[in-house]
């Protein structure tokens, strides 16, 4: 008798539990379908923008320690257009995507090269900036004036970047083959170049424009562009956040159309703005 009672009580409890789970699942599902990331940003009143602050002139800290740079200004414009407060969150290159997926940042405006491989993991906007890759060389290693002068030289690149990919694609065609020194960060690559461990270094024009002429680049000169390679930078959002992506695409369209893109580009790169692909 006792057993019967307790087992039917258990069944009742289980049924209630299942009902509660189903109800909460339905509610959660309904909630997800309505509010997307764009809604979340607008209702929270703050845009959390992930920027690389070790990559001038896209992102850096001024003498007061405040974030500055092309990407930082772009984030400010986005927040103003959205009508929300801006919070800049520093995300070094390897942290850009994990912090996006973990929800620490809402968008990444971090000089991210929009490759098709990466687009399988995050959703990219249309390109909001572009760059080209340049070769810097150590003057002790002999003068270099064209990309082919890299034959037989050791070339420092940051592992996994478009710079490494571009070099490996070109040097594979040479009799001398490839001699890449793939390191973890730009700081490591610069140290290797300064010490003479590498003869040359490939980075985007964004980085080179701030690097060449700075005290750390003593004895280092700019050679030439890497032929036929364009670095398309796009903003990244969590994959599937199409509402936010579409809003950002319109933002980028207006940023270019209003002349604001050209203004920011000239301010930070000291050069006329390129034409972005449509």
């Amino acid at each position: 008798m006792n057993n019967l009672l307790s087992s039917s009580a258990a069944r009742l409890r289980d049924a209630a539990l299942v009902a509660a789970l189903v109800a909460s699942g339905v509610l959660a599902g309904a909630g997800q379908a309505k509010a997307d990331e764009l809604d979340d940003i607008l209702s929270s009143g703050t845009l959390r923008c992930g920027v690389m602050l070790d990559y001038p002139p896209l992102g850096y800290r001024d003498s007061n320690g405040d974030p500055q740079g092309f990407d930082v200004e772009t984030c400010k414009d986005i927040a103003t257009a959205m009508g929300v407060e801006l919070e800049i969150i520093e995300t070094p290159a390897p942290q850009r995507i994990p912090s996006l997926i973990a929800g620490t940042t809402d968008i990444a405006v971090a000089g991210t090269t929009a490759t098709l491989e990466r687009a399988k993991t995050v959703t990219f906007t249309r390109p909001y900036n572009m760059g080209r890759m340049f070769v810097a060389y150590k003057q002790d290693s002999g003068e270099m004036t064209q990309f082919e002068d890299l034959k037989g030289k050791t070339v420092a690149v940051v592992r996994g970047t478009i710079n490494e990919t571009a070099y490996l694609a070109e040097c594979a065609k040479w009799d001398e083959g490839c001699d890449n020194l793939s390191l973890a960060t730009n700081a490591d690559a610069v140290t290797a170049l300064r010490q003479g461990r590498a003869d040359a270094y490939i980075e985007t024009d964004a980085y080179m424009s701030a690097f060449i002429g700075s005290p750390v680049a003593e004895g280092i000169a700019l050679c030439c562009a890497v032929p036929g390679n364009t670095d398309w930078n796009a903003m990244a959002v969590v994959r599937g956040e199409y509402g936010l992506r579409d809003w950002l695409n319109y933002f980028i369209f207006w940023q270019i159309d209003s002349g604001r893109y050209a203004e920011l580009y000239t301010k930070f790169f000291n050069a006329p703005a390129p034409t972005l692909a449509q």
């Binding site: 399988k120 592992r159 996994g160 793939s182 390191l183 490591d188 140290t191 010490q195 599937g240």
Partner: protein, 219 residues
């Protein structure tokens, strides 16, 4: 977190991950062997009264144990690079972790030496053994037995420390994962995969160490 894990890219990268694991494991084994060979005389010198031997041994042990392993690797790679001595990433990691291992193991062995009755050494000497023979055949076999667990821990710790080599371009397990995560942005998948791989490597080391245990695997 609205994120769908996709481990297909990890499977595609499996050959590179496996060769990276081989790099990690072989560096760990090599630097552990060298570390132990260095640690034995270091421990004797540090415990002894001869100041000419004791001072450098103490300095080595203090430096190895009280500076970050990353700084030791950078010192080998960039520090020596600043004076024109260039070595590949694997050599810098091997030297730095051997140096680190020697310091930690010397301190472990010194503790083991304290547990051996000093009269054993004197007795060996009176039987005609040279000091080197006395340590080799009488003292250290007992030190190894007493410190076996601490030495195993140090082995695993140094294997995990080889992952720091990825920062200077070493293509070990971590280097391969960093490369692929930069190219594909599949950060979670790759770091989960290598977390499992490091656990497997650690278990392999524990398994291997059982056969080196003084008295055999079942002692």
């Amino acid at each position: 977190m609205g994120y769908t894990f996709q481990f297909g890219v990890v499977l595609d990268a499996l050959p590179d991950l496996l060769s990276g694991a081989a790099v990690s494991l072989s560096l760990a084994v090599a630097s552990m062997v060298v570390g132990m060979l260095l640690a034995a005389p270091l421990a004797v010198a540090a415990a002894g009264r001869n100041l000419a031997a004791k001072a450098p041994a103490r300095a080595w042990i203090e430096l190895a144990r009280n500076t970050p392993c990353l700084a030791q690797i950078y010192a080998m790679y960039y520090g020596l690079g600043a004076v024109g001595i260039f070595m590949p990433a694997w050599a810098a990691v091997f030297l730095a972790i051997s140096f680190n291992n020697a310091g930690y193991l010397a301190e472990i062995f010194r503790g083991g030496l304290n547990g051996i009755n000093a009269n054993q050494f004197k007795a060996s000497r009176s039987l005609g053994l040279t000091p080197a023979m006395a340590y080799r055949y009488v003292v250290f076999p007992q030190v190894f037995r007493n410190t076996y667990n601490s030495v195993s821990n140090q082995f695993i710790w140094s294997m995990l420390n080889t992952s720091l080599g990825a920062l200077i371009g070493l293509y070990d397990l971590s280097g391969v994962a960093m490369d692929y995560q930069m190219r594909t942005f599949k950060t979670f998948e790759f770091f989960l995969a290598i977390a499992v791989a490091y656990i497997v490597l650690a278990k392999l080391i524990m398994f291997g160490m059982r056969f080196l245990k003084p008295g055999g695997a079942n002692a």
